[in-house]
């Protein structure tokens, strides 16, 4: 076997040091195929070589956790003999290059991670970040990503029920597409990728292998420079119809006893799936590449092993179950081929045309992947900004309209109306609230699901931003009455080889860990996306958190809509009027600075547990968490959802911050609820040591804020609903 020239090594994204390590492991130079396999397996995307040391610090256990990180997705016990299985994963690089297919295959990939474990997917969410609306590519990217997510999710018939969207010039060269899937499986029938049984058949099923997506994982592990679009051939093409068939066929076969282990072919395709199964089982594999179903003639072993063609699965079957499995997959018109077997050699041996074309030891390659403790610099602390140092608006109503109509806060209806959010007929709370609520089919229980991150907080103070993202997810689940169970994290950052970026990463992970510990909200799955930078400019650090909670009784939930006139508005949690890094500061005062609001995890927990108790007792059916834009925006959203006004009077309190800070401050751990009479709730709050104060009354067709004229709800609606459709070039229907 001849040694590859140095430029080929570099083109495979391997450092000189890593290449030396390959020579040590093999005791010889790798051939081209073997080099390609090392390249994808040791890519940042597959190996987590820069992030692993930090990820190990996250809390991953709780009595209800069944599978933490390390499997295709995390699994938690939700009672009734069932488990919720979920994960969030990025498809950032491909979506920037080719938004429709990039986003579509992102959805396909995360769905496979979930149903591979035996779960029927019941909900999709997505956390999206785009560049400046005025950037020439933003409109095209937004249109393509939304169409791609819808095109895939709608066709497979899994409702897309929620998510979040931000716009920031920091994403001009690198958008973020983070897709989350939640599924439900019988708790005692969860499937993993750990192979066992020497001699057992390795079976390939799903779509045929083509030449698409070769080196996708390596591409996703490098920065973009000029001409990123030229990498389009590394983007895969999705086929949601085949995915739908694959879901049904896999679930049908999983109901039998045929499967020993199963793994989807995602990043690094056949290479990583076969390695992972063998490595987890401490075994070897022999693959006969002549048997791999191929889309084109004349594909080389290199192409087959590195292809990232979508909608493919690898399984280890019990002896004698091949015909049963073949029957199921043929019923669904899917390819099915026995392509190899498990061995006890601990090696991966690849054969084609009767020759050995690759021979690699599995453990050193999969387990001894490089792991770096990269140098990092802490992000300099942002100065706190006193509420009085931020000017009050000339007109409170105008400021509110401006916030409600801003790209980051305006209605996302244009997006979610392109997603089928009701298929499966279990969507109880549709998009637009604090968390999506999806019924557990055939029961009166439900899962609450949310995704959250405030990138401007992560940028100003990574540690705090990481904690805040977790706290907000926990709060959003609480606000619908759910008991928060666990999270999946999707960590999007720039180039980890730069200490400033690594500092952001370390800070966010530490903050996430701290909040997850304090809230008993462990991390059960996740994904890291690094090298999100173009021409040396990194994205804002974006630690997206996907949270899942359990609602025991659908009769005891809350949503954000005001429901009846004459009810008392009660604000729960302490308001100091924190305006640093707030949306008010950015959108109204045109300043991007300051420290984000502090996160007090003890208060977060105390206030949240109190609110959940109110909802569980049936005392409260309208509840909204306070976040971007503070009290005024939360109240406006509640008025819009219920098509009902309210009159607000600030409490008489000498410590009250300036009015605009009271209205627009983004202090954490707060909720706004309505109750027929406030006194019992205020009394219960006093007993629980939770700050609570009555701030007004519902009613009428306008919102009356202190220091301003009444604003009609219809006027707020126009401000809220206009920006996005207009930006996307739609004229309102007559």
């Amino acid at each position: 076997m001849t040694a590859p020239p140095p430029n080929i090594v570099a083109e495979h994204g391997l450092s000189g040091e890593e290449y030396e390590r390959i020579l040590d492991i093999l005791g010889r130079a790798p051939n081209h195929l073997e080099l390609g396999i090392f390249s994808v397996m040791w890519s940042e995307h597959c190996s987590y070589k820069s992030s692993k040391v930090w990820l190990k610090t996250l809390p991953t256990t709780a009595p209800w956790v069944i599978h933490g990180p390390g499997e295709n997705a995390g699994a938690v016990d939700i009672g009734g003999g069932l488990a919720a299985i979920f994960k969030m994963e990025s498809h950032n690089h491909p979506s920037f290059i080719e938004p429709y297919q990039g986003a579509a295959t992102g959805v396909g990939g995360i769905l496979r991670d979930v149903f591979t474990m035996g779960a029927r997917p019941i909900a999709n969410l997505n956390a999206l970040r785009f560049g400046d609306p005025n950037h020439p590519k933003t409109r095209h990217l937004l249109a393509g990503v939304v169409a791609g997510i819808g095109g895939y999710g709608n066709c497979v018939g899994v409702p897309t029920v929620g998510g979040e969207v931000n716009f920031d010039p920091g994403y001009n060269g690198n958008i973020l597409v983070n897709a989350m899937t939640v599924g439900i499986a019988p708790k005692d029938r969860i499937f993993t990728s750990q192979a066992s049984g020497v001699g057992n058949s390795i079976v390939y099923t799903g779509s045929k292998t083509g030449r698409d997506g070769i080196h996708g994982a390596t591409m996703a592990s490098a920065e973009f420079g000029e001409g990123a679009e030229e990498k389009r051939p590394t983007v895969q093409v999705g086929d949601p119809f085949t995915e739908k068939l694959l879901i049904e066929a896999c679930l049908e076969l999983m109901a039998t006893d045929a499967i020993v282990a199963i793994q989807d072919m995602g990043a690094a395709g056949l290479t990583s799936s076969s390695f992972e199964m063998a490595s987890k089982g401490g075994l070897g594999v022999e693959l006969d590449l002549d048997r791999v179903p191929c889309r084109e003639d004349g594909m080389t072993p290199y192409e087959m092993m590195l292809s990232e063609s979508q909608e493919r699965m690898l399984m280890v079957l019990k002896p004698g179950r091949e015909d049963l499995a073949r029957g199921v997959f043929e019923k669904w018109d899917l390819d099915f081929a026995v392509i190899g077997r498990l061995t006890d050699t601990g090696r991966m041996v690849l054969r084609m045309h009767g020759e050995t074309v690759g021979d690699l030891p599995i453990d050193p390659l999969a387990e001894a992947a490089p792991e770096y403790r990269r140098p990092y610099e802490d992000t300099p602390e942002a100065p706190a900004i006193a509420p009085s140092a931020v000017p009050a608006p000339d007109d409170t109503g105008a400021a509110l309209r401006r916030l409600l109509g801003s790209p980051d806060l305006c209605s996302r209806r244009w997006i979610w109306e392109q997603y089928d959010h009701m298929v499966m007929a279990d969507t109880v709370q549709r998009p637009g609230g604090d968390a999506a609520v999806v019924r557990i089919h055939g029961t009166t229980r439900a899962l609450a699901i949310t995704t959250d991150c405030t990138p401007r907080y992560c940028q100003a103070a990574p540690h705090l931003g990481g904690a805040q993202a977790v706290a907000e997810a926990w709060r959003n689940l609480t606000a619908v009455g759910a008991r928060p169970l666990a999270v999946t994290d999707n960590l999007n950052f720039g180039n980890p080889e730069r200490p400033a970026v690594m500092g952001q990463f370390a800070g966010c992970v530490q903050g996430i860990g701290e909040a997850c510990r304090a809230l008993e909200f462990p991390v059960v799955s996740g994904n890291v996306s690094l090298y999100n930078e173009t021409n040396g400019k990194a994205i804002p650090p974006t630690a997206a958190i996907g949270g899942v909670g359990l609602i025991e009784d659908l009769e005891r939930t809350a949503d954000i809509a005001l429901k009846a006139a004459g009810e008392a508005l009660v604000l729960i949690g302490e308001t100091r009027g924190h305006l640093g890094a707030s949306l008010y500061l950015r959108e109204v005062a045109d300043r991007r600075e300051g420290a984000p609001p502090p996160v007090d995890l003890a208060a977060e927990r105390r206030n949240g547990d109190f609110v959940r108790g109110l909802i569980g007792a049936g005392t409260v059916t309208t509840c909204h968490d306070l976040s971007d834009g503070g009290l005024a925006v939360a109240l406006a959203e509640m008025a819009l959802a219920g098509d009902l006004g309210a009159q607000v009077t600030p409490p008489e309190d000498p410590a009250l911050p300036p009015l605009h800070a009271w209205l627009f401050g983004e202090d954490q751990a707060r909720y706004l609820v309505t109750v027929p009479t406030s006194e019992p709730v205020l009394e219960a709050a006093r007993r629980a040591g939770v700050p609570a104060v009555r701030i007004g009354t519902t009613g009428g067709d306008a919102l009356t804020l202190p220091g301003g004229q009444p604003i009609f709800v219809a006027e707020l609606r126009a401000a809220h609903e206009t920006w996005l459709p207009a930006y996307m070039g739609e004229t309102p229907a007559d």
Binding site: Y419, M422, V423, M424, A425, A733
Partner: protein, 238 residues
């Protein structure tokens, strides 16, 4: 009543309509009628048991990679569905099922891409155009109901002479309307001609509609306006 839900590869509202019908059958059983659950029939089956109602569910049969419903209209099971429809067995096609029925020639007209070229999923208001049918007997003519749509190709078209005949014979089942019942462009989610949301065949034994009544047939899901369609069918066919 016995009902069959036809499952094509890519159907994805098959379970939803099965549940809505089973719930209607359970309600009927509480009043002394027979209960039961619709059976699922696989698209490769060229024969299936005798039933009182055949349902073609929503979804993306065969991926809708060709014209929506065109592939499904040619599948083995559809020959049997067409034969039975010809004998008067009631057939209900929802969303993709409606598209299949027009492709199979069981209903007039065609469904083309939405006027704004985008998938649309939202609640719409429908006006009941007639209560003189198996499917709409439990509604009052002129009543307004709220049910969701979720489709990319729901823009109904038909030749003018077809429309005239259909209007004359009362073959228009539902139209998209404003909450006050007027037929406006804003209330029409997909650009359908004459705001048509659902149509019957000449004998009113076959109904196709783009909206999903099965998705708002339970209080827990936010509404029950779709329920009378299923209750009416169960009552009439039991």
């Amino acid at each position: 009543m016995k009902a069959a839900v036809i499952v094509f590869p890519g159907s994805n509202c098959d379970r939803d309509v099965q549940v809505a019908l089973a719930q209607a059958m359970a309600r009927h059983a509480q009043k002394g009628g027979g209960g039961g659950t619709p059976t699922m029939v696989w698209h490769k089956d060229s024969d299936f048991e005798a039933v009182d109602l055949i349902v073609l569910p929503g979804g993306f049969s065969y991926g809708d990679y060709l014209r929506c419903g065109a592939m499904a209209a040619q599948s083995p099971v559809m020959k049997e569905v067409m034969r039975r429809a010809g004998k008067g067995v009631p057939v209900l096609g929802i969303c993709n099922g409606f598209q299949i029925l027009t492709e199979a020639g069981l209903l007039p007209g065609a469904l083309v891409r939405n006027a704004n070229l985008k998938f649309v999923c939202r609640d719409v208001t429908l006006r009941i155009e007639t209560s003189q049918s198996l499917f709409t007997a439990r509604y009052e003519a002129g009543a307004k109901i709220r049910v969701p749509v979720a489709h990319h190709d729901g823009n109904y078209i038909a030749a003018d002479e077809d429309f005239e005949r259909m209007e004359e014979r009362g073959q228009i089942a539902f139209r998209y309307c404003a909450p006050d019942g007027t037929l406006t462009t804003a209330a029409n989610p997909n650009g359908s001609a004459r705001n048509v949301a659902g149509v019957f065949n000449e004998t009113k034994t076959v109904l196709g509609l783009m909206p999903h009544p099965e998705r708002l047939a339970e209080d827990a899901l936010g509404g029950t306006d779709g329920r009378p369609l299923f209750d009416g069918l169960v009552e009439a066919l039991s």
